[in-house]
Symmetry: C2
């Protein structure tokens, strides 16, 4: 039986995902975002790279069949199933600085960046090492003419999921997002499970 | 009189750009790309970040009035004049790996990545430190519906330019691009000048 883990609202976690294992990420309530970062377990300076991924996949919207690539031009994760079809790889994790900028009247929060740094600290990661995250379920439409982007509520419904297969041994950092705009103003948990096919 | 510097075809350079100085980048022949990266001179782990820039500028297409932000949420450069209006901040510098992937029949080249690493080595930078570059004059349209991107010849005409003002003391790395697609299959120089207003 597969154990289901839960990331409480506005928090984060980190774990090892061995090559070949499948990571299922579930949005139990719907309209919540999970920021995901990945590092090569044997070289923590190798991390997912939105730029390399956009290069090799030739799209900014990643879904089933697409792979997430590292800064060293190696595929790290493949999306093998996707019930939502819209995720973001443009924007960085929310942080104290983004809370100050976007929500000046709201209480300050360390955001996904602070949560990722704490969760990944046992793996030697500091904030400068955290790359632009793959923001699961985050809905950031882009106007192809002007380039303008907007952050809209996710398209995910309760219990929608996405599944990734690890292509190498990875250290994964993952959050239940802390920002107001990315989840429609509510804070919810994220669930995940690790399995073998 | 302002000294004009030239970056020969398929090469790179690095230099200090003090706060307040203006960097003018010129495409002398037209349809050439220059990959630009920037680091805080007093902390080389602070670098331009496409994700933070997209966050704060709320667009993927940067032009006059937009700023390039660092991974530490500080503005590094402001675009103060832009004769072309189309540049790319999605894609990583071309490298040996991208040459193998995109141009399997063509001679291998270390690309802008190799050129940036060599030019920035005296500043302590290694390849893992090189972020996604701001690719001056690079023309990468994005389909807002599908997310598909294409690399087309630049829109720059001979002697078109872009001007940046440094907001902090910076170390800049810059190239004359080595890839076939980004400059329409020809390799050309890039010129630049550093001035005070």
């Amino acid at each position: 039986m597969t154990e289901m883990m839960e990331i409480p609202p506005r928090s984060g976690t980190a774990f090892v995902l061995p090559a070949g294992a499948v990571l299922t990420v579930i949005d139990p309530c719907g309209q919540q975002v999970s920021d995901l970062v990945a590092f090569a377990q044997n070289d923590m300076r190798e991390a997912i790279s939105n730029g390399r991924t956009f290069d090799y996949e030739e799209t900014i919207f990643l879904t089933t069949g697409n792979r997430l690539w590292s800064n060293k031009s190696q595929p790290m994760l493949e999306i093998i199933e996707d019930m939502v079809g819209r995720h973001d790889f443009l924007l960085t994790p929310c942080s104290e600085a983004t809370f100050r900028h976007f929500y000046p009247g709201k209480p300050l929060h360390r955001g996904c960046m602070g949560n990722l740094v704490e969760a990944l600290a046992p793996h030697g990661i500091v904030s400068d090492d955290v790359p632009t995250a793959f923001n699961i379920f985050m809905n950031v439409p882009v106007d192809g003419e002007t380039g303008r982007l907007r952050v809209l509520p996710p398209l995910s419904k309760p219990n929608d999921s996405i599944r990734f297969r690890a292509i190498m041994d990875l250290v994964i950092g993952m959050t239940a997002c802390s920002a107001y705009d990315s989840n429609g103003g509510s804070f919810k948990p994220i669930q995940y499970a690790i399995t073998r096919d």
